[in-house]
Amino acid sequence: MLKSVILIGGPQKGTRFRPLSFEVPKPLFPVAGVPMLQHHIEACAKVPNMKEILLIGFYQPNEELNRFLLNAQQEFKISIRYLQEYAALGTGGGIYHFRDQIVSGSPEAFFVLNADVCSAFPLTEMLSFQKEHGEPNSFVILGTTANRKQSMNYGCIVENEESNEVLHYVEKPSTFVSDIINCGIYLFNPDIFQHIGAVFQKNQQDMLLEEPTNGWHRAEAIRLEQDIFTALAGQGKLYVYKTLSFWSQIKSAGSAIYASRLYLNQYHTTHPERLASNKEGGPKITGNVYIHPTANIDPTAVLGPNVSIGTGVTIGAGVRVRESIILHGANLQDHCCVLNSIVGWDSTIGKWARVEGTPSDPNPNDPYAKIDSETLFREGKLTPSITILGCNVTIPSEVIILNSIVLPHKDLNRGFKNQIIL
């Protein structure tokens, strides 16, 4: 039998997702209409013999997470449990800490997935690949091709092209190593714990030799990438399965819009019922659009492409929404225009207002380009990016909010361009 482990991080991680992550844990942020994690869970639940999904992270128990888990269990009819780390233990430390839970029931293998990736999750393909390549108990990393320049922002994998063995692994190198990058999705078996255990022991000894260090550098904190993969490379144990299917990281709020586009597109084959269509008395739909059934939309509104409308959203007459995510309870008044933006929960956009951002999409002419993780500022100016309105923000009528980030619970009284409004 098989299991899956999803690494969901905690509040001190994924901070580039603020201010949206102030309201809801990042793994639960809706992408293409459903929580980010749900895409992972759906993919895992589809794999034959999948018996259990374990979520590992260091979020405190909270209502949203509990509710999500309950619903997911009922919907997918599979055991889903949250294992809370006592501290941030890193991508390797968490699974090591909970290894007993993972190996209980003797699974032959288990997947480990990062929550903040958007992917087609070719899990059954990875299983087939693992059976055909290398030793019976080899590990597999899912890889994809990036362009040379961007590859250095990721974990780089050098492979033996015939055997697909990983010869060399470097996490975020400062010079070019390889254009095959780590997708953050792995197929392990219980043997992995020997390797992690060895690193754990070594860290413990190193700690004893050094002075008591600052708190964040714990012995038990182990990073799969730097500490495990780098060591395993070239030992005949680690293999890379390259995929051509879609993949993207979801680090910043802007990348959520790009990820939405990828998943919405996938719905044509996996969930066509989630895509809105042009209906009598309904708004005009162009491209891929998700609309929650409880949303209330005027028939003269025009939505899409790449739009997700959350629960209880109200959209007035003549509203235009494109390449945007509108979260639960938002109210878009008549004739307003929302482009390349995320409108937070319960926010209001006044009549004829314009909320507009700049897309940070990867170059469409480069098949291997990935979404950029730009810094907020570049050369002293705010980098033009997706406009984000936090929860409960009010935008007055007739103003323009361009390339700006508005923190939650703010009532604006004028327009802004290229600003962070605290």
């Binding site: 003269t300 007459a317 003549g318 004739h335 323009i400």
Partner: protein
């Protein structure tokens, strides 16, 4: 053709000519820097309509402000009645009857209309005796405050003068009459809209029935009878909509002039713009401070424009 530019749905020139005719003028000379068939044709029409004579005097090389006067000298020697001279970019309540009266009263060679402005250093300033109106001197764009009265671009002269102003002033032959009411030099695009606001306010005071009111209209709005306005629009304050303009549903327009034959498509938002002839503004467009003419341009949907588009162009 600058003189034919519509100001509040009427060519600027016509605002001036009609006011002159009301004051008893029966012959108007237009000094132009280039001959235009369009202008000639339009002037023939107005001659018929107003029952006056309109002559065109062509200034082949730029001769400054005195140039046209010299060229027109021949045409003016016909009679000894005083003649008006106007700067074509000026808009106001045109007090030509008062000006004629004032001029006859002081009996000297010339009268210049002056107006009070807040920033005189941008203009030519006139220094004169407050009670009589006798002009002492002119100061061009003064760096220190001299007076807040500037040359409003309207004059009346006896035919016997035809010399340049400063010489006349020295001899006590020039008088200043202060203009009451609004005044604007609409040669500058940004002043065009300010002038329009003032003119519309004047219309509200003198002929409020010309303005459009009702649901969806705020403040002073002038709409040509052949224009069409869609549903759920909010137009005004301070908007002029020209002939044959189509404004689709859900549009918001403030402080703008929309010139003849243009189309503003649905849900767009315009503030402080001059939308030129036969331009088309796409759906959900936002335009702010487009103070030059968006002339025959096509603005595609969902654009936001903050700059001017003087030439026909498609804005992607």
């Amino acid at each position: 053709m600058k003189a034919l530019i519509l100001f509040c749905n009427k060519p600027i020139l016509l605002h001036q000519v009609e006011a002159l005719v009301k004051a008893g003028v029966d012959h108007v000379v237009l000094a132009v820097s280039y001959m235009s068939e369009l202008l000639e044709r339009e002037m023939r029409v107005q001659e018929q309509r107003l029952g006056i004579r309109i002559s065109l005097s062509h200034e082949k090389e730029p001769l400054g402000t005195a140039g046209p006067l010299a060229l027109a000298r021949d045409l003016l020697n016909d009679n000894s009645e005083p003649f008006f001279v106007l700067n074509s970019d000026v808009i106001c309540d045109f007090p030509f009857k008062d000006l004629l009266q004032f001029h006859r009263n002081h009996g000297k060679e010339g009268t210049i209309v002056v107006t009070r402005v807040e920033e005189p250093s941008k203009y030519g300033v006139v220094v004169y005796e407050a009670d009589s109106g006798r002009i002492h001197r002119f100061v061009e764009k003064p760096q220190v405050f001299v007076s807040n009265k500037i040359n409003a671009g309207m004059y009346i002269f006896n035919p016997s003068m035809l010399k340049i102003f400063p010489v006349m002033a020295g001899e006590g032959q020039l008088y200043a009459m202060e203009l009451q009411g609004f005044w604007m030099d609409i040669g500058q695009p940004k002043d065009f809209l300010t002038g329009m606001c003032m003119y519309l306010q004047s219309v509200r005071q003198h002929a409020p029935e010309r303005l459009r009111t009702g649901p969806g209209f705020l403040g002073n709005v002038l709409v040509d009878p052949t224009a069409q306005i869609g549903e759920n629009c909010t137009i005004g304050p301070n908007v002029t909509i020209g002939a044959g303009v189509v404004v689709e549903d859900g549009v918001r327009i403030k402080r703008c002039t929309v010139l003849k034959g243009s189309r503003v498509r649905s849900h767009s938002w315009l503030e402080s713009c001059i939308v030129g002839w036969s331009s088309s503004v796409g759906q959900w467009v936002r335009m702010e401070n487009v103070t030059l003419y968006l002339n025959g341009a096509n603005v595609l949907p969902h654009k936001s424009i903050n700059e001017s588009v003087p030439e026909p162009r498609i804005i992607m």
